[in-house]
């Protein structure tokens, strides 16, 4: 027992010294090259605009606030994406196993298409392809004169405020930008393709006897899925599903390509260019993604633990 412990301590020390040396090296190199360093920039005035923000943002806000704006936008698109991709993925996975030939084939085609296209391509296709088809604000498509769709986005009523055309654009109501819609749709479609396969694999991993027993008891197909198959399949589904949730969150950083103001676009993009403090900004960005990913993994591990215990109790 003693020897392994010593090795562990030495190993930890080596790593700590390595990181310490790297940090000193960076600081020394930056100073020698006359490049600004430190984290003081976070409180300086940003001076640029951001198209959509969940918290109040003006040009006089600080770079630190820009970090929060970007982070919240990342969390918004990721969390909505995870929920929608799960719904679509589970539905597609189940549909692929459906006795209905057409439904199974359509689901199979969708899965193969999404899994075999690069995500960036899907994003560009949805963004520029759809954008070109939509009319300008003055020729908006409208539904009952309260919901409007044009190439500036989707406008819906929100808290007694109805969108209205005012000059260049609509004001009032809730405006959802095309960048957000395209990014969210692409992330959902792409990830759903993978989730569908995980769900299908999980269902197939349930011994056929379970299915036969359920049918023999006279359960309908839906009842069988909901009460017998899916609870057991979850055991095999949850661990790989965690990876997909992590992927979706990290993939949301492709937002920069179509100008959705996520963490990478705002902070590791605009703020980095305006301050030039690449080392600090990339380090913060990596740290933030790491924290988000670890939190998702933690939540999923708790869920995984639960599904396992239920399974044991049932057996």
């Amino acid at each position: 027992m003693r020897k392994p412990l010593l090795i562990q301590i030495v190993f930890a020390l080596v790593i700590a010294i390595g990181f310490g040396w790297a940090a000193l090296n960076v600081a020394g190199n930056l100073e020698r090259q006359g490049i600004a360093s430190g984290f003081g920039f976070l409180s300086s005035t940003a001076g640029f605009g951001i198209i959509s923000s969940l918290i109040p943002w003006t040009e006089t806000s600080s770079y630190g606030r820009a970090l929060v704006v970007g982070l919240l936008n990342t969390l918004l698109v990721s969390s909505l994406g995870i929920v929608l991709a799960t719904i679509l993925g589970v539905a597609t996975g189940v549909a692929r196993l459906s006795p209905n030939w057409l439904l199974a084939k359509v689901a199979g085609f969708f899965v193969e298409l999404m899994r075999n296209l690069p995500l960036l391509l899907i994003i560009f296709f949805l963004y520029f392809g759809v954008l070109r088809l939509l009319p300008s604000p003055s020729e908006s498509l409208s539904l009952g004169d309260v919901i409007f769709l044009n190439n500036r986005g989707l406008y819906v009523p929100w808290f007694f405020s109805v969108p209205e055309l005012d000059g260049f654009d609509f004001t009032g109501g809730l405006a959802i930008t095309p960048e957000f819609i395209a990014l969210l749709a692409a992330l959902v479609l792409y990830t759903a393709g993978f989730i569908a396969e995980i769900v299908r694999g999980g269902i197939l991993a349930v011994p056929p006897g379970q299915r036969e027993a359920a049918l023999a008891l006279g359960l309908s197909r839906t009842q069988m899925l909901r009460m017998v198959i899916l609870p057991q399949a979850l055991r095999a589904i949850v661990p790989p599903l965690t990876s997909q949730y992590l992927n979706l969150t990290k993939n949301s950083s492709l937002a920069a390509a179509i100008g959705y103001p996520d963490l990478v676009q705002v902070f590791a993009g605009t703020v980095l260019s305006q301050t030039g403090q690449a080392v600090e900004i990339i380090a913060i960005t990596m740290g933030v993604y790491l924290i988000i990913s670890l939190l998702i993994a933690l939540a999923m591990n708790i869920w995984n633990e639960r599904t396992r215990i239920i399974e044991r109790g049932a057996a």
Partner: protein
Amino acid sequence: MMTWLRRFSPRVVLAVSTGLFLAPSLLASPATLETIVKRGFLNCGVNQGLAGFSSPDAQGNWVGLDVDYCRAIAAAVLKDATKVKYRPLSAKERFTALQSGEIDVLSRNTTWTISRDASLGLDFVGVTYYDGQGFMVRKKSKIATAKKLNGATVCVNAGTTTELNLADWFRTLGQKYKILSFEKNDEVVAAYDAGRCDAYTTDQSGLFSERNKLKNPDDHVILPEIISKEPLGPAVRQGDDAWADIARWVLNAWLEAEELGLTQASIDQAKASPNPNIRRLVGVEGDFGKMLGLDPEWAMRIVKQVGNYGESFERNLGASTRLKIVRGQNRLWKDGGLQYPLPLR
């Protein structure tokens, strides 16, 4: 699934990790000139594609005013204007590429500002093009002045002075606007062309150049307002003053050649000229080449292989090109412009 990493732009990440793990001595090597001569070519950071400044032609050769500046350095330092390796850079990547030593000189329509000069570890060496920020809108919108853009959505390139000037402009007027910023130029233009934005803003030279990429260039009009000063110039890494001197004087010799009337066609006869200014530039009098660590004919080769500044301007941006940019404030000082070559003596 590493695609997300791509958005961080490999160069920035590479530079950061290089900074972390490279031995200090490797980063702080000051003798840029020696390194370039030993390497045999110049690493030049340029725009990924801005017609007239730097873009690949039909044969895949890089051409443009910014490109010609790098060719001039190669002609002076390596005696061959073709010995340049071009690194196309996005606005976001450009400074990190220079800081990390990936390029020797940044010649990428970059505005000289105090924050860049003082905090990014680089030195600007002069101005190759005096520019200013403008707006482009659709003709059918019937907007005649940038003051009528209240409430408009504007497309810009992320990480530029443009992004900040735009915010300043609307703040000063007390008007509302929406800004949509993309990492790559091509996506800015595509989004504007698709009708996502009411206006597109960048340096005016860029507007002329990018207008040709639109589906129907004639449907668009550039507004008369210039909302900022954008002196565009090359920059080198801070800390190697000898290399900064070379970069600065290549630019001045390039301009001075125009002032002296030396052209690519006539330069061979210049050595016989009685004019002492010309004799100094071509290296028959004085030893300025030696002072810079170069040979006496360094400046003469710039004119012979690249042409003078005015020739390069006409070839890349002038009336004979698709851009048809009027020389305006980029004329020499004696013709009423701002280009004022410092004396070579």
